[in-house]
Symmetry: C2
Subunit: 453 residues, 2 copies
């Protein structure tokens, strides 16, 4: 069977798993790029994926795991025997192991850790204590360190002797530590090219190198790498002992993950990314929890309408325009919120700068309020042939647009100051407040001029 000709490569992989054809599976995986591997695995039944992992040796299984997202990998590893999962983890980078363990149920993770060799288990336990978005949570433990009295020749010999192991290391520097592991200096790999081979590292190393502490948060790490154009930074503990290195890619990835989750939250996807390969109960449940919150908020907003039922009874056409004002206000608020969230993420806005947001949004709100008010008011007049109704709707939308951009722009700042995650509630909160404003303005203006409508 030719892979090229198969419409769906995962069906071919399924057949291979059912036939327990380990050799062909390996060749399939070798010839499939990581994105397609992840796609194929996401399309195959959980039971078959489990069989697949059992068919592969730990090394090949680890290579497969590397192609998957942490969420996907964690689901698969949870289903394996702990001893088997432990054997696969021992083939993976330390940060990857911790990321996947972090996505798991605590009991499952502990069961696997207890099956790892004592040194790796100790490291995994230690790494799991660090916060996800800190240097400790992002670092890897694979680095090269030497003593300062070793020579260039010593290093080159060690590099030569451990070529295969080090080839996997994604590092551009060697670190110099004392016998207790305290960081003393750093050397770029290329600094080894030119000196005499007998030169001791103490003569070449950069002393007091740039470094970061395990507890350094993501924002600090971003600034660190923006300021110092480095391929990696040593991470030290409180006592200046070298415990790992953090790579700029890991910092970028973490930043992107955070930003994606924020955007997804604004669209009502909370609790991390959702993929359609996840069980339907998980997907429906997470979406429902956000939607049901929205129902209650919507009821609160709609209670404004209930207060004005007499006005609507007198002018039924108002019922046609209430949802328009509600939708439009939500849109304006959402735009302003997206800009605030983005500026906060990029550091172009600070959480306490309410004044700046008010000034900048008010100008947009006034301009667009006038524009939208004239547009909708004009359309209402043309459609219903009622000038006063057009004025009521247009004026209400104009004022509510101003209110909406202010509420939308300020809500993320307020949530950030209260240390709440803006992703979760920004959208729901804005819609509720702007709906209430819109309903109130339309219906109270209409009540005032009711005899002329």
């Amino acid at each position: 069977m030719d892979i090229q000709q198969t419409e769906k490569p995962w069906e071919y992989l399924e057949e291979l798993i059912e036939a327990k054809d380990a050799a062909r599976i390996r060749s399939f995986l070798d010839n499939t790029n990581p994105a397609d591997t992840a796609l194929a695995i996401s399309r195959i039944d959980d039971d078959l994926v489990n069989n697949l992992m059992i068919l592969l040796n730990p090394e090949d299984a680890a290579e497969l795991i590397e192609d998957l997202s942490d969420t996907q990998a964690a689901e698969i590893m949870e289903d394996l025997e702990p001893s088997q999962a432990a054997a696969i983890f021992e083939e993976l980078d330390s940060d990857h192991v911790v990321d996947i363990l972090g996505e798991m149920d605590k009991d499952d993770a502990n069961a696997i850790i207890s099956q790892m060799n004592p040194e790796d288990a100790e490291e995994a336990r230690q790494f799991l204590t660090y916060d996800e978005d800190t240097a400790g949570g992002l670092m890897i433990s694979e680095f090269l360190d030497y003593r300062s009295n070793q020579t260039v020749q010593d290093v080159l010999e060690d590099l030569q002797n451990n070529r295969e192991e080090y080839a996997e290391y994604d590092v551009q520097y060697i670190y110099i530590t004392d016998s207790a592991g305290h960081l003393e200096g750093v050397l770029r790999m290329r600094d080894l090219l030119f000196p005499q081979r007998s030169t001791p590292l103490s003569k070449l190393m950069i002393r007091n190198p740039y470094k970061t502490i395990v507890t350094a948060p993501l924002d600090e790490l971003r600034n660190f790498f923006e300021e110092h154009n480095l391929f990696g930074a040593p991470v030290v503990d409180q006592d200046n002992r070298l415990v790992g290195i953090v790579l700029p890619e890991a910092v970028e990835d973490a930043k992107q993950k955070k930003s994606v989750n924020q955007f997804l939250g604004l669209s009502g996807i909370i609790g991390g990314e959702e993929f359609r390969s996840m069980p339907v109960a998980v997907r429906a449940g997470r979406r429902f929890s956000w939607l049901s919150l929205n129902i209650f908020l919507n009821i609160i907003a709609a209670s404004i309408i209930a207060l004005y039922q007499d006005t609507i009874a007198a002018v039924i056409a108002l019922a046609v325009f209430l949802p328009i004002v509600s939708d439009m206000s939500g849109n304006s608020g959402q735009q302003a919120a997206a800009v605030s969230m983005r500026e906060l993420t990029l550091g172009l806005l600070r959480p306490h700068e309410f004044g700046r947001v008010i000034i900048k949004e008010a100008s947009v709100g006034i301009l667009n309020g006038i524009g939208l008010g004239l547009l909708l008011g004009g359309l209402v007049y043309l459609w219903q042939g009622n000038l006063i109704l057009g004025l009521v709707i247009g004026l209400a939308l104009a004022l509510n647009t101003l209110l909406s951009v202010l509420v939308g722009g300020l809500t993320p700042l307020l949530l950030k100051m209260l240390k709440l995650d803006p992703a979760l509630v920004t959208g729901a909160l804005i819609t509720t407040i702007t709906d209430m404003g819109g309903f109130f303005l339309v219906l109270s203006f209409a009540t005032i001029v009711l005899d002329k409508l």
Copy 2:
């Protein structure tokens, strides 16, 4: 004046610019990290920024430009004399120059290019012809190439002699080309560590190296770097001539930019990122163009309500619940759309897989439709004490939730198949269709049981 004590560092910078104190400005910029520099520049008046650029020599100005986003940089460069902008560009990386030129007005860009030295101008013109999201648009022209008959010693001498220039090069490989520039092989820097210095490169180089063609699109480049764990890839033209190298970071950045723009589009921010430092006319105008489209779509949706005015006149309470059904349906649709857009971006879903989305969303839609229908229907019954009204609203929301997740899930696929940018219209389109569905279901059900309401 101590920077640490100043509440707002940009006010200090403004004072320095007004005092024309170039030395202190340089020291301020040297001691400020890039994120804070970008923040400060975004807060300073355009005129003062212009003065600042004139005060700095081209090298320092280029360093400042490197700290800014392309949009921010383009705005500043447009305001400078072309000859001055050209001098600054000559200090920047080629890909950065092209990114900034690409953000500019064409006339402004050409005026600057014509002031650059002929070689750089030719390169900039050539680079600008490449599509932004292709290898040509992402590559840099700074790479090291040698002939295959040169020796390790030749390379080491050249590296030594041009240390300073090459120190700026962000490359881990050297390339071997023939005299006409055709790519013949590649060598990792560290491969130069061990061999005899007299060895010719032809004996060491990896022949037929992995490479990409200038026209390779972003998705292909991502797969390339996921498959081959490289620090950079040579980019060749149709004739296999080496024209640049593309770094995995550039590919990641481009991917992230695309993903951010997509998310922003879903929140109604179109035409690229918006920052509050942009002129109010630009910000208001771009937001307005999206909002005004939404007004027309909203009117279309609301016309359904107009058809049922008699029903509403008979049961005014319906006016209270129409906006709730409209909001909730929009939310459900938005969630499904966000998942589809994310899966498409990550390659976990292909644009033609309508069947998969229908099956996966229908299951969520049925579960959440029942849940939300029961919840809202129950609340309506409790509030209004009218069981039939509760049934009408609950059933309409249940069915419309199913409709909304299907429409929301499928719209991004449909737009992608039609080669339209999902970011621009997904949100607006989904809201319109789901609103129409919701209004129709509520009002037609109500009309059927009108005598019992």
